[in-house]
Each structure stands twice: as C-alpha cells, then as structure tokens.
C-alpha cells in the first residue's frame, strides 16, 4: 500500500510540472494579444511597450521565462504579478479561494447525500413507480444546463426579483468569517443549482451499479448466510457499488474547486471561476497560469486522494 501511495505522489509532482510547462508553452506560442501592449495602457508608444516588455522579461527566450517563473513559484511561492493591475497573483487567487471552496464543498455534500440516497432507493425497488419517477427526474436534472437552472431559481426565489422571494438573490455572497448566517443563506440557491445535475447523474450511476452488484454471486452468499437485508444491501452491496462513484467524485470535486464558472457568474459569487474567465479575456498570463495551476493542483490532488480511498476499498487494486 505504501508503495502504491508513493508511486501516486511521484505522479502528482510530475503531472504538476507537466501542466505548468504546457500552459506556459501554449500561452507563449499562441498569445491572443501582446501582454506588454495590454499592460502599457491606451495607445502606447512603441518605446514604452518595449520598455515594459523588458521589464516583464518578455524578451527572454521561453525557457528562461519558464525557469524564472518556476523558481519564483517553488522557492518563494510567488505567482508573479497581474499584467492588468500589478496586483500579486497570489493575493488575487487566495482571496477568491474561500468562495469557490464554499460553493464546491457545500454543493458536494448536498449532491452526495441526495444522489446516493436516491440511487439506493431506486436500486432496491427496481421497476417500481418510485424507481421510474426518480430516474426520470434525474434525467431532467442532468439535461438542464446549470446556468438555466440558476436563472430559473433566481426568477423564482430571489429576494429582489423572484416570484416567491425567500432567499437572498445574486450578488449577496458574504464570506463565512464576516457573517455565517448570511453566508449560508446566500449559498443555498447556488448549492442546489450546482448540485442538481451532479445528484441526478450520481443517482443514476449508483442505481445502475447497485442493481448490477445485487445480482452478483457474493450477494447471494450473504443472503444464504442469513444476514439481514439491510446488511446485505449496505455492507455488501453498497461497498462494491460505491467505488466508481468515489472515482468520479474526486474528478468532479477537483474540477469544481478550480472554479465553477457558470454558477459563479449567474449568482455573482467572487470565486476562482470568474477570475479565470476575466484573466483569459484580458490575456493576463500570470493570472491565467495561476488559476490553471491551481485548478490542476486540485484535480491531481483530488485524484490522489480518490486513488488511495479506492485502494482502501478494493484490496485487489493494491497489488499494481
């Protein structure tokens, strides 16, 4: 098991290096605009642009720039400065991180609880009306785009424009440290909107897996041992059926932590997603690099955790 974890950790390091290199090369080779020109402001003179270019070190070959960037990153945890306004990228990113984490974590809890419960219920009552209804609803949940759901939610429940104004509307996000209650209520709608499609997907997935697992031979053995049906379904059945869910959950959570762009936009939550969108539009390379690296880190790290949990669940995997 230790060997397994070590191997995964080495992969994490390698992957992060690879991501940083690839991102760097992409933006170096295919810039959408000259960052020096953008930085220089409106109608700059060529000499000003050239000065800025030298200042930012953009005249150096790409591997020198990359080397400098990585050195700053690894030894000083310095992500550079935004081309746009000179603010340290680290500050930009970390100030937005709590909002993204709040959004992703809350939605994750919600979709896990709902998705798994519905999946289990549908699997143990196959082909009943309950099963068909819930799977049908789930299909709707998966198909509805998240921004549409967000807008509909706002239209129905938002305090300022909604038909039944019971929840705070867009732009009402407040950090947890400032006002826990307001933080919580402002996130209720975003959590639901974000969680719906995942919950729907997870419930369908779990239902499928669990139904298949419950027809396996070892479930028959468990029943033949005289175990209670609850124990058979939860301890024997769910334990097997949950492993693909664990894998997907890691990926989904990792991606979301890097910024749920659409939800953040609809509800005007100051998270990483909106930061990365605006930095792409403005070719603000250091910020883009920062958000991409952060996103990659979350995904890779989430996958590492998932791999370890998977190996804990399924002993056959530990022998790779």
């Amino acid at each position: 098991m230790i060997r397994y974890i070590l191997r995964r950790l080495l992969w994490v390091v390698f992957l992060l290096f690879a991501v940083s290199l690839i991102t760097f090369i992409i933006f170096y080779l295919l810039p959408s605009a000259d960052p020096a020109a953008l930085r220089a402001g409106r109608q700059p003179s060529p000499s000003l642009v050239e000065t800025i270019r030298q200042q930012l070190g953009l005249d150096q070959p790409w591997y020198v720039q990359y080397g400098r960037y990585m050195k700053n990153l690894i030894f000083h945890f310095d992500f550079g400065f935004s081309y746009q306004n000179g603010v340290p990228v680290r500050q930009l990113i970390f100030s937005r991180l709590p909002a993204s984490i709040s959004l992703a974590a809350g939605a994750a809890v919600l979709w896990l609880v709902v998705g798994i419960s519905v999946g289990i219920i549908a699997a143990i009552r196959p082909r009943t009306k309950l099963d068909r209804a819930s799977m049908g609803l789930a299909l709707v949940g998966i198909s509805a785009p998240v921004y549409w759901l967000g807008l509909v939610a706002l239209y129905l429940f938002s305090a300022d424009i909604g038909l039944f104004p019971i929840l705070p509307g867009a732009n009402s996000y407040v950090p947890l440290s400032e006002d826990p209650f307001a933080w919580f209520t402002s996130l209720i709608m975003p959590w639901f909107v974000l969680a719906i499609s995942f919950a729907a997907f997870y419930s369908r997935l779990l239902r499928g897996n669990l139904t298949e697992v419950l027809s396996e031979d070892y479930i028959r053995t468990a029943r033949a041992k005289g175990l209670s049906e609850r124990r058979v379904v939860f301890r024997h059945g769910l334990r097997s059926a949950i492993t693909p869910i664990v894998t997907i959950f890691g990926l989904d959570l990792g991606i979301l932590l890097g910024g749920a762009i659409l939800t953040e936009t609809v509800f005007n939550i100051p998270g990483i997603g909106r930061l990365s969108y605006s930095s792409i539009v403005r070719s603000d390379l250091p910020v883009i690099q920062g958000t991409v690296l952060l996103g990659a880190f979350f995904i890779v790290f989430a996958n590492l955790i998932v791999d370890i949990v998977y190996a804990y669940l399924d002993p056959r995997v530990r022998y790779e």
Binding site: R3, L6, R7, L10
Partner: protein, 342 residues
C-alpha cells in the same frame, strides 16, 4: 507412429510471461513460466491430446502451435518449415492451414454478426469464394456438415443454444479445409447431453476431412475417448507422453496416476476416495516452480534425488515416455485405476 512425416514438431518450446514491478520504471523480477521446455510431434491425421489441470500450460501450448503467441524459446515446425519467429505477413498462409475451436461458445462469436457472415469471414479474409453467391453456398454446405439448419443463415448467435454455437465455431474453423485443428476445451462449457454430439462431430469431421486434431482438455474421459496419443502436462512440462490406451491402462508417472485416481466415475463401487493417493495442496504457481522434479512436493514416491535432479522423458517398460526417477510399477498403477479387479 508419427516420426516419418510429422505435421507439427515442437522442440524445447518455451513461453515465459514477464512479471514486472517498479515505482517509475518497470523492472522484470521474474516470469510466469507457462510453457517451460516442451517437445513433441504430431503426425498427419493423428488426434493428439494435451491434458492437465489449470496452470499446466496446455492452453498456452495450443496457442503457440497456431503462432497466436511468439515463443520465448525453443522451436516450432509446421510441415517441416520453422515458424518460430515468423512475422505476421509470413504467417498469413499458415492461418489457412491451422485453425482453432475455442472453449466458450458464448463469447467466441461476435454477437453483432449473423451466423452466415461469421462462417463466411475466413473466405473474405483470405480472398476465396469471391462472389457473394459462392460464399453463401459454401456457408450453407458448412452449416449442413456441422449439423445446423442452412436456412438459419441470417440468424444471430444469441438465437442459438450453446451446443449449436459451438457447431458454428467448428464450421468457421473448418471453412478453409485446414490441415490442423486445435480444439481448446471445446466441450467443457456445454451440457453433458450435448457434449457427446460435439465430440462425435469432431471425430466425424476429422475422418472426412483428414484433419490432424490437437485436443486440449482437462476432462480425462473425453481425452481418452478422442485421442490416439496423449501428453500429460504439469507446470509447463510434459510429464508423460504415451499412446492413449497405454496412458490410461498403465500410467507410469505418479501425477498421471493421481489424475486417474481422482476422477469420479459413475460407478459407486469404484469411488475415487478409495483409490486416490494422498495428494495434498494445490498446484504451485508457474512463476515459482519447485526445483528438481516439479511434482516432487506432492508426490508420494518422492525421494532426495527428486528435489535436486529434474528428470527427463524416458522410455518406460510399456513403451510410453515418462519424466520420473521412480515411475509407477504395474501394481501401483492398477491400484489407482477405476477398474474392477477381476
């Protein structure tokens, strides 16, 4: 029997599958020695049996004979020509002459193709029977020959029973009139009352088409019925090589004896429980075979020599070959057989 003009000849054939381990770079730390130095030949028109339990290497040997795998050692000859390391293109003509029938009739047929197209595929691949009409006639003939209704040309495999699916597999294998047919456990997955039908079919086809048949199975009774000569395999090696009747009436290798003694027969007065020697444990892993004679840890007759010296196949008193330092004598062999003492 086959020395003069063998169809297949195998010399010291080896198939080692590497085992690898490592954090970043995979290092080979051992190998699964699936086939570890096997030699035999099969004459034209002969039915040759390969028998043994799981892990003995018989299926791997079957695949090696057809060059579905490339041996890691030894030599393989087909009709006198060496085919051991031929490339794919050079092997193409061999594919017409050597075919295989597989064990599982449920997974060896493509469920998305009609039976007709499955059987016609060999013609298409080797560019014979060019026109669709010609192919259809050939396929109908083949279906009739294996006992299927030619009118079912357009049906799909799932519409057939296990036994019928196996017939489809056989039809596909004999489509191009091969010289060699390797049957890898062709009846193990079938119901008892159907097995005899397929066994008889194979025997009839062999006679009518002059096929050479290599029959791989773990079921000793079937092998004895079908085969002229038999090789008993254990952990990648042949431990006994004999004419079928000799092998089953007078086994010389203790493992062969143990196998025969373990088979339950439909006669309550000949219980295996009474006959069999105390054979403990399971078959060791082919990645770590015991030193010396591979069977010695489980053998009732083993002595010090057996742990250090690997025995080679030697001629025995009854004409069979056995790789053993202390082979069974006639009395010991007789005690293990499911025969009524007269």
């Amino acid at each position: 029997m086959s020395a003069a003009d063998p169809l297949i000849e195998v010399r010291d054939l080896q198939m080692h599958f590497p085992l690898q381990r490592g954090i970043i770079f995979q290092r080979q730390y051992g190998a699964v020695r699936a086939v570890d130095g096997v030699s035999f030949s099969v004459g034209r028109g002969e039915t040759f049996g390969l028998v043994g339990e799981s892990g003995c290497g018989k299926s791997t040997t079957g695949r090696l004979l057809l060059r579905l795998l490339e041996p890691t050692g030894g030599q393989l000859f087909f009709e006198g020509e060496e085919i051991t390391h031929l490339g794919r293109r050079q092997l193409a003509p061999l594919r017409r002459d050597a075919q295989m029938v597989f064990q599982d009739p449920y997974s060896s047929l493509n469920p998305r193709k009609t039976v007709g197209s499955i059987i016609a595929e060999p013609f298409v691949i080797h560019r014979l029977a060019r026109s669709a009409d010609e192919r259809r006639n050939e396929v109908r003939d083949l279906m009739d020959r294996v006992g299927l209704n030619p009118e079912h040309y357009n049906r799909y495999p799932h519409q057939f029973s296990g036994g019928q699916r196996q017939r489809i597999g056989v039809a596909r294998a004999i489509a191009l009139k091969p010289k060699l047919l390797v049957a890898d456990e062709p009846v193990s997955a079938l119901d008892v009352s159907i097995q005899a039908q397929i066994i008889n079919l194979l025997a009839d086809l062999q006679r009518d088409l002059g096929l050479t048949l290599v029959f791989i199975a773990h079921d000793l009774s079937v092998v004895r019925h079908m085969c002229d000569r038999i090789a008993v395999m254990y952990l990648g090696k042949i431990v006994e090589l004999a004419a079928s009747e000799q092998c089953f009436a007078a086994p010389r290798h203790p493992y062969t004896g143990a196998l025969l003694a373990s088979v339950p027969v439909p006669d309550p007065s000949l219980r295996a429980i009474d006959r069999r020697p105390a054979l403990t444990g399971d078959v060791p892993s082919p990645s770590a075979p015991p030193p010396g004679c591979r069977f010695h840890p489980r053998c009732g007759k083993a002595q010090a020599l057996c742990a250090s010296d690997e025995p080679q196949l030697k001629a025995q008193d009854n004409g069979s070959l056995a790789a053993c330092h202390f082979p069974l004598n006639a009395a010991e062999a007789a005690a293990m057989l499911p025969r009524r003492s007269s």
